[in-house]
Amino acid sequence: MSKGTQQPPRMMQNVFVLLLLAVFALLSTFLITMGAQLYRGTVERSENNNTARIMSAVVRSAVWAEDGGEVLVEAYDEQGVRTLAIIDRYDDEAYYKRLFCHDGYLFESYTSENRGFDIDAGESLCELAKFEPRIEGQMLIIDLTGADGTTSTIQVRLRAGGAVS
């Protein structure tokens, strides 16, 4: 008889404890999932910002460092790339600094005129999906697409050397 009167409260107690544990587990999972998503978002955004800044800095400094050099956009259809070439002349020889996108990376190469363009000769700078330079008057405009699909445009006014066709 006494067993019969004690059983219902103990059962209720167990159910209550289990219910609280379930709520605790659910809240913990929700918090961890939310935290992980926020962390991933923050890291992704930070990476995008870094890539955009690197791309912009690389292109601008490449053009400004060779201020006085001629700038042109070359199309290499066989390799499927468009390069931004900055030409400088020393002792009657032309040297080409080229920026181009290949294999998901922004590459930079520096070669003399005699060696021509070699797609595998460059050095990778940062991840990049698309690099589309064009020249309008004396304005160099480059449309960039990052590895994650974010797009940005860089505009640089060519100063001393200028654009050549």
Binding site: Q6, P9, Q13, V17, L20, F24, L27, S28, L31, M34, G35, L38, Y39, G41, T42, R45, S46, N48, N49, A52, R53, S56, R60, G137, Q138, M139, S152, T153, I154, Q155, V156, R157
Partner: protein
């Protein structure tokens, strides 16, 4: 009586655990919120700097900065030109200095976000007398 007392102490224990958990959750949510705000701010600074640099180049290239600014969507205000973006505001001011040979034109692009200056980029160009006319 004994059963009621045991049940009460268990309930108090559980409520304490839940309270501690809630306090930890609030702290974590605050931290996540702060990190998201920082990330948004970094994105705004990045966009503002990139746009300011591009604008400075456009203004350097332009013979008629006012027309170029209007084309970019700027509106004329008492202290210069203003363009409001979602995350920041761009201001452009112009200063000219007359010299014997021509005019030294300086257009300053300033980006601001909630009264913080994010970037200030001057674009200076010397216009010889014939060109300045």
């Amino acid at each position: 009586m004994k059963m009621t007392s045991r049940a009460n102490s268990l309930l108090v224990e559980l409520l304490l655990v839940i309270m501690i958990f809630m306090l930890a959750s609030v702290t974590l949510v605050e931290l996540f919120g702060a990190s998201k705000a920082k990330s948004n701010e970094a994105h705004a600074v990045n966009s503002a700097v990139l746009e300011s640099q591009n604008l400075a180049e456009i203004l350097y290239d332009s013979e008629d900065p006012e027309a170029a600014l209007k084309e970019q969507g700027f509106t004329a205000e008492a202290d210069g030109w203003v363009l409001k973006r979602d995350e920041y505001v761009l201001h452009v001011t112009q200063e000219t200095e007359e010299t014997d040979g021509g005019v030294l034109r300086t257009l300053t692009v300033r980006s601001e976000r909630e009264e913080d200056v994010l970037a200030t980029i001057p674009s200076t160009r010397y216009l010889p007398k014939e060109e300045a006319k």
